[in-house]
Amino acid sequence: MKRSLLLCLLLSAAVGTLVARSAPHVEPAQQLTGPTDSWPTYNGDYSGRRFSPLTTISATNVGSLSLAWMYRINLPQGTPAVRIAGTPLQINGVLYFTIPDHVWATDARTGRELWHHAWTSKGGIHLGNRGVAVAGELLYYETPDCNLVALDIKTGTERWHKPICDLDQFYYGSVAPVVAKNHVFTGVSGDDLDIPGYLDSRDPATGELQWRWHVVPQKMDEPGSDTWPNEDAMKHGGGMTWTPVTYDPDLNLVFVTTGNPQPVIAHKNRKGSNLFTGSIVALNADTGRMVWWFQSAPHDTHDWDATQTAVLFDATIAGQPRKLIAQASRNGQFFVLDRTNGKAIISKEFVKTNWSLGYDAKGQPIPNPAKEPQLDGALVSPDQSGAANWPPPALSPLTGLFYVNARRGFSVYYLYDPDDNPQGWGGTDRGGYSEAMLQAIDYRTGAVKWTHPWEGGSRAGLLVTAGNVLFTGGASNDIAALNATTGAALWHARLNTSVSNGPITYQLDGRQYLVVGAGDTLWTFVMNR
């Protein structure tokens, strides 16, 4: 028995080593507790909360933060999109961050560059890149010219690349992949020419396709096809997947948020709610089979992608412990759903809007046809950039609040193309007045507990910590810290330009670091001992 036990232990150790070699960096992210000495996925963990359990930096001492180092990207003039719009990953003391076609590794303690990888592009929109995923010795990122590229994490040398979309059809890659189990989840971008969106699961070792979930149904007898007038409209119906997914290891569900239908503004040829665009969708991580869906933006006509991060958390609602998922959607609506079945618990505006007629039986908003784009214009709030957008929100289980940088904007939506079969956009909005604010939403009720206005505007991602500090970009090219409970301003530091990503934090050698991107520069602050 003892020999058998020893053999089992040795075998277990051997298997453990193999697992460790293939996916050692994903393990921390599989927990819903938040990272401490690393930031191993886009959102820090799989939940999307951007909540750090670290407390070295706190609401009482954040004023003592000081600059640790800064790294400025040095690329030839004319390089497109030199702006850190992604979230860095930090693993084993190394930071990995991107702009389109470029990846860097720097020492997380000193900012010293370890390697730089540059991709020779064949085209595509170079708007922004959200970052990388890491599993084992490989790092993954998407390129604007539709490739998933795998690099050696130690050297930045390319191991392989796989096409994930069709550049000729005006797709492009921008989203940060997410690795869970033996899957790399990759989404696609592009709404220039009426193309269907999808989410891929790919083999971490080879990049080969494991499964593809099409956002819009492919045949008229498939679920959701009854929300489209015909197959042609459906198969050109859009629904891009350009925000990193979240994942529940216990339910083995991956949660994908989908973009607007296409044609984007003109909509005569896509009557119906246009499933599964503008939706939160739960998929089986191993098969891609859809388990449930909830449409945040039915029949969108305002370019309000509903791709905002779907944040996973557990809480007690009406005395019952619940597994929940929340989204502050671009159209100004805040939703809390049961993430086991997609049933709505809360549907409520997080800023005042003027485009909906209430909610249907599922808790989905009902669009007001009068506020669809018109030939002579329709005054709509929010405007095209939305009440929220790509900058990631945050959620703290300690304060019970969901945080989102919001805008209350107005613009006039015009229909340009009155054709019965419009294509592309067929219209847009113009003008606009807006106010920016950080909304702290009670996730048990949907009520806005407090609002922190940003004079002059701010649109940055968020980070919240157990030290009761909320970090984000402020209104004057600064990184700002607010009291996570009250919203009171605690500290700020002016940067070279406005914050362009979501801040992250990690603790190394007993020192807690805060890292934030602003334009072409990565700034790192530290709480010295």
Binding site: G78, G190, G377, Y416, G424, G432, Y433, H492
Partner: protein, 286 residues
């Protein structure tokens, strides 16, 4: 006038020429070869439209394709949409389109092989031009049309009544006289909803400039044009042009004045009908 002919307007040609010129300038700046646009939508080696060729291709289209595929090449009951077909999307200078057309019968009953290589190239230019019009939101080709749908009399009543516009806009200050002759209807719509902060030539417009008054616990109040304000500091430019920054404390009183506040508040209450009525009235003030 058909839509096909409408696309031959000087504006459309001018836009295409300007776009090509801009693209070339960008390429030179990036040290790349012409035809290799690497940072825009779609592939860097995309088809480059020759406007004259597209004009010739329009004639071929009208003679051999338009009946089934439509004036815009977006398809009819008799033929599929061409502008977003994979054949066209993969095509470069008729290398995909040409062999495809040659396999099919044209609307005249002639075989596709009867078209010359030059005609196929022209057809390729014409179809890529149609596709390019869709890209980039179509903003270069399509504009808001038909904005003047409101009731002039109702618009006048709103301006002089519920809109409270005459509180600020009088015969001697902010006069609306003749405004309909200075702006297009869509610009009138935009300007009354979202008035610009600056005037002609981007010059500061005192009637639209945000000002701030800072009053310390002890000492005189200081007023000026607001430069920047956040939770920690407020910066203004005083009447002498001096930039002054004050650290915000609980005892520092800060009062902001936005002369456009009435316009901002209007957005909360105005209906789309009232909006169209106001535009109609303003447009009538020639």
């Amino acid at each position: 006038m058909s839509k096909v002919n409408a696309m031959r307007s000087p504006f459309a040609v001018g836009f295409t020429a300007a776009a090509v010129a801009l693209t070339m300038a960008t390429l030179v700046a990036q040290g790349q070869q012409p035809g290799r646009v690497l940072s825009g939508p779609g592939p860097g080696d995309k088809h480059v439209v020759d406007a004259a060729g597209a004009d010739r291709g329009r004639i071929v289209w009208a003679a051999e394709c338009i009946t089934c595929h439509g004036t815009q090449a977006r398809g009819t009951d008799r033929g599929p949409n061409v502008t977003r077909s994979l054949v066209l999307l993969r095509d470069r200078n008729a290398n995909e389109l040409g062999p495809f057309v040659k396999k099919h019968t044209l609307q005249s009953g002639r075989p596709g092989t009867s078209l010359t290589d030059a005609q196929l190239l022209d057809l390729s230019h014409f179809l890529h031009q149609r596709m390019n019009e869709i890209l980039g939101k179509g903003i270069g080709f399509f504009k808001p049309e038909g904005v003047l749908t409101g009731d002039t009399t109702a618009g006048a009543a709103f301006i002089n009544g519920a809109g409270k516009c005459t509180t600020c806009h009088t015969a001697t200050a902010g006069s609306l006289s003749g405004i309909g002759g200075r702006y297009t209807p869509v610009d009138l719509q935009q300007r009354f909803l979202f008035p610009p902060r600056t005037g002609r030539g981007n010059a500061a417009n005192p009637r639209a400039t945000v000002t701030v008054t800072v009053t310390p616990a002890s000492g005189a109040a200081v007023s000026g044009v607001l430069v920047q304000m956040d939770d920690f500091d407020v910066t203004l430019r005083d009447a002498g042009g001096v930039i002054r920054t004050f650290h915000r404390t609980p005892t520092l009183k800060v009062t902001k004045t936005d002369p456009l506040q009435a316009h901002h508040l209007l957005l909360e209450t105005i209906t789309d009908k009232q909006m169209h009525d106001v535009v109609a009235y303003l447009a009538s003030l020639k």
